[in-house]
Symmetry: D2
Subunit: 357 residues, 4 copies
Amino acid sequence: MSNTIGTLFRLTTFGESHGAAIGGVIDGMPAGVKVDMEFIQSELNRRRPGQSKLTTQRNEADKIEILSGVFEGVTTGTPIGFIVKNENQRPMDYTEMSDKLRPSHADFTYQCKYGVRDYRGGGRSSARITISRVVAGAFAKLALKEVGVEIQAFTSQIGNIKLTGDYKDYNLKNSENNAVRCPDDKTAEEMERLIAQMKEEGDSVGGVVSAVVRGCPAGLGEPEFGKIHAALAAAMMSINAAKGFEYGDGFDAAWRKGSEVNDSFYSDNGTIRTRSNHSGGIQGGITNGDDIYFKVAFKPVATIMKEQETVDSKGNSTTIKAKGRHDPCVVPRAVPIVESMAAMVIFDLLMINKSRK
Amino acid sequence: MSNTIGTLFRLTTFGESHGAAIGGVIDGMPAGVKVDMEFIQSELNRRRPGQSKLTTQRNEADKIEILSGVFEGVTTGTPIGFIVKNENQRPMDYTEMSDKLRPSHADFTYQCKYGVRDYRGGGRSSARITISRVVAGAFAKLALKEVGVEIQAFTSQIGNIKLTGDYKDYNLKNSENNAVRCPDDKTAEEMERLIAQMKEEGDSVGGVVSAVVRGCPAGLGEPEFGKIHAALAAAMMSINAAKGFEYGDGFDAAWRKGSEVNDSFYSDNGTIRTRSNHSGGIQGGITNGDDIYFKVAFKPVATIMKEQETVDSKGNSTTIKAKGRHDPCVVPRAVPIVESMAAMVIFDLLMINKSRK
Amino acid sequence: MSNTIGTLFRLTTFGESHGAAIGGVIDGMPAGVKVDMEFIQSELNRRRPGQSKLTTQRNEADKIEILSGVFEGVTTGTPIGFIVKNENQRPMDYTEMSDKLRPSHADFTYQCKYGVRDYRGGGRSSARITISRVVAGAFAKLALKEVGVEIQAFTSQIGNIKLTGDYKDYNLKNSENNAVRCPDDKTAEEMERLIAQMKEEGDSVGGVVSAVVRGCPAGLGEPEFGKIHAALAAAMMSINAAKGFEYGDGFDAAWRKGSEVNDSFYSDNGTIRTRSNHSGGIQGGITNGDDIYFKVAFKPVATIMKEQETVDSKGNSTTIKAKGRHDPCVVPRAVPIVESMAAMVIFDLLMINKSRK
Amino acid sequence: MSNTIGTLFRLTTFGESHGAAIGGVIDGMPAGVKVDMEFIQSELNRRRPGQSKLTTQRNEADKIEILSGVFEGVTTGTPIGFIVKNENQRPMDYTEMSDKLRPSHADFTYQCKYGVRDYRGGGRSSARITISRVVAGAFAKLALKEVGVEIQAFTSQIGNIKLTGDYKDYNLKNSENNAVRCPDDKTAEEMERLIAQMKEEGDSVGGVVSAVVRGCPAGLGEPEFGKIHAALAAAMMSINAAKGFEYGDGFDAAWRKGSEVNDSFYSDNGTIRTRSNHSGGIQGGITNGDDIYFKVAFKPVATIMKEQETVDSKGNSTTIKAKGRHDPCVVPRAVPIVESMAAMVIFDLLMINKSRK
């Protein structure tokens, strides 16, 4: 709960947007796994701002420092402490924030909850804190790779631009070849245009990240409260700006008849398979070995360059208009975060399963 | 995890559809709360099958027995153990199940996970086990009532019949006056007709449950992994047949611009309020005091009276066609379960908040 | 915490001394383990009052009822709900308790904590609630047997009668052949005499339970807060009337020099062994494969048949003198409870270890 | 479990003796508490080596760096990440360790558990990692101070030199005035002499730390597995080199009769009090408002300057003799660690209690 996620593979995080450092502790990583530092840094780079002209210009190295749990290039089984320093703190940008409540940000609710708040760049509520998730996700991916589980997320919608096909219709690896992380180049271009337009207007736009997990063994998931899709939902909804989660047919299932969406079984030369995968690879909260696929909806970034009505901390009417560096759309940068959260959830459940063998 | 939910207000459940009893343990219920047994039983009755001609005819009393934690009519602060006996076991209906895998049920995945399974009526994967959630939810509601928090869920969609208005357009209390638990009588009638038609066809249909929480104080929710909507998502997605969760604008937020959905602040005679509530009463994972609203999508019941292709446990091709008592649509009965899960999540977060005062 | 113990093998308990039933939920028991009901009942019988003339005469069958998680004689991997009904409730014996605070019982502290209390027989603070521990311990023992781990506890001290030798000097199996569960017959006789004398005097006496775990694989225990001896300490100290815990040399280590107690390594034909076992089979919180041994001190039962000064709930001076059925010494009946707690702790850690393979 | 302790006030730690840094994350610290950095550093200084000629000469500043959760001098309610850098790493001292197993250290068990180990200075099993406990304990003390709870530990035994009186016979504050942290100056001198002698002999010696908690409100502690003394036992036994724990009469209770040790109640002008405190301020696992007192036994440091028989990692016979900087007795430095663990446990239980008001 709070700042820890996981049962056996556990991440505990700390850090504020403009504090000394963002960081975390990974507890439960098995010993003896080769640590590919280049891969971990490359995952952080996927999340990093300033990757393209579409994202915020806060250009920090986001360099990972491992403080413990890795010795002579392999994990030791002890907790992996890590930090990423906040280099580019620029506190001057945020003086206005110390007094005005930013609409649809967490300023007001943090103030209500804690009575005090670190107003610099949103403090703990900043999306910058997802850095720790990407680090832990990278470790989970390293462990999952050894057992053949692959996770691929991609942008399937930005505003009113939406991928029309199924995930099987695209080469998902192509997502990393464009700035919006959409597997279809033509759609990607339209998305980029929309984001550029939002930037020009000083506005922002929401979107959807889709994800597919391939090679996941059957049997993962803990009924009844630890169903794999419940764990995925909690993990995804904990990402900044997430508004919805669905897996398999998702909300579309509500429109359908059982006879249309049941996945009938057949024998594929002795192996039991299903004719369709409306279930999204999960039945009764447990994986069946088929592809797991799900979607996460993100709202538009709350920070916009337009004047908005608001109040100051004393409740006096005023207006606010953001200055400085801000993303018109965070969805492309959410892609590695969605993957990271999925990796942590799945590896945790895999470990739980092994504990009973 | 697994069969326990909550941090301070915790429910641990047990039981199979056709075992001796369904039950659970509520740990963390504050002492000194008057236990209204009639209310608790009435909540169970809302979930019970056989309430109308639309639901399964398994007609059991589902009578609650409290075994501990309540003394002289009030809670004692010690764990509340409870059971509901499975009276109407009819094991004969389920012999076919012992060998054939029911499409889109959890037979196959339980077999993969555990190597053995209680095949009678789905065993642990049966929706009958939600009984324990309703009991614990009723206790949470009793505690929440004392602080003015009210939770109301209702059916907003059955198949292609959908409530078109906002939750504020309806008298939600009216939901309990019809068999489908829809606040709008006209829509309710259409929904009933659709379910009746499905029953006649031997088919099933999905739907959506919407919920509103009123009177929730500002400040609830634990960043960063314990955001209130992440906890709600996990709780809701753990309900049998749930396929999607969204709060506030939900998936619609993906289509929008920031300037359209930001909830601007204004001063209402000194009280800080928002002009709109696209956020669904939650910002940064913490409540702001406004109404919390969310939706849960449910797939159509997997059990249908039509012949379906499947395999037996040895992988041989065969067909299956359900007999006996089954709901063509579980959505109306999911309404009290959604409320119960919400009550548990909110009361747990309320207790966590009080611990820091 | 509270009424749940364990990470992967978890027991949650409920019940009061004179409520409807004592019970619990075991979550995490692996599937496919043959359930030897006779063994489980025999473990309960070892804990049961009325086994000999030395113990309380509350003579109940303490018959276990499994409500879930076991199907066709084997575990299914789903939670095992169980109850033991309180048959012999005799509420009349306890009317005095409703008003007077019993010295060194938990009447006063429960009243302080909860504001209300079930005063019948101590309610939740009664040693009767250890029934649930013995049931879960029996399941853990069944699982541990399959991997060759054996746990044996015995009475090593009653009042001033103390076993002088090391555990290796005795045939520990012999403990079950006398009423006090001491492996040495002569010492057992002296202990029995002392307890009989206490009974005659209307007084009570304390003692020590020692335990040995053989066959435990090396590598169990989770640094840094989950050290195996820390987990054992918590488990043992949670038993009613426990006052102290030590393992290996224990408090005697405080008197010693490093050169006297270090366990030096040698090569036994290629296998690394230690010359001595002052460490009690544990170094740095992790097992080394050698015997684990530890001791648990129990205070004398607080209930005595002598008149004692006390106050009533309003704070008025009065006296109290117990009537009815009470043990002059609970130590022999604590033996199976100590074993049960050890079994749960060790099996839990074994499962955690397997999760990383 | 593992590297996290606590339910609402939680500490997660990381770090190895000779890695980049030792650190941790405190989650659950209430917002708005003034952070007295001088006090926190002074607590670390009490634990620090090199305080006197009796302790190891590893002379590091052990300077605390707070990375998050504190803003403008007060806690913000968000997780407090902190590190203490390992300045004085001197890896050359430890080359022998990479191959030889040190008797009664955790080299062998870490190797068994993880297959790899950071052999520099004991890695994760080094007592240096207790730094993180002292930091978190200091925060807990700051919070406890506001409610009047005071915790004082002291050295009550070093080898065969033992305080003979009760804790009430001494001015415990005096403990900080001598190098061994014993409240009685004369006994302190004898202890110092014994440690000096051990140093000369190249040997080490064990001891006992006693602790008293004053001002703890009645009602803390969570039956049935979260009894306060069970939580204290787990916390204390998790400290490096701890071998035993007892509270109240402890192991002495085993020798006694109920009539001798029951704490009878009387009315002190309307306030209910007990005539004695054999219970150590705890009954049924819940505090009664009286002083809590307990003892923790520590074995002699395993590192000695004498030649000892051992094996290398291949199992070949060899000998080992420590060189470099080592404490002949860690007991005085364990005093602040015992206090820190007690502070964390008590504050956590206090928060849990408040959650139910």
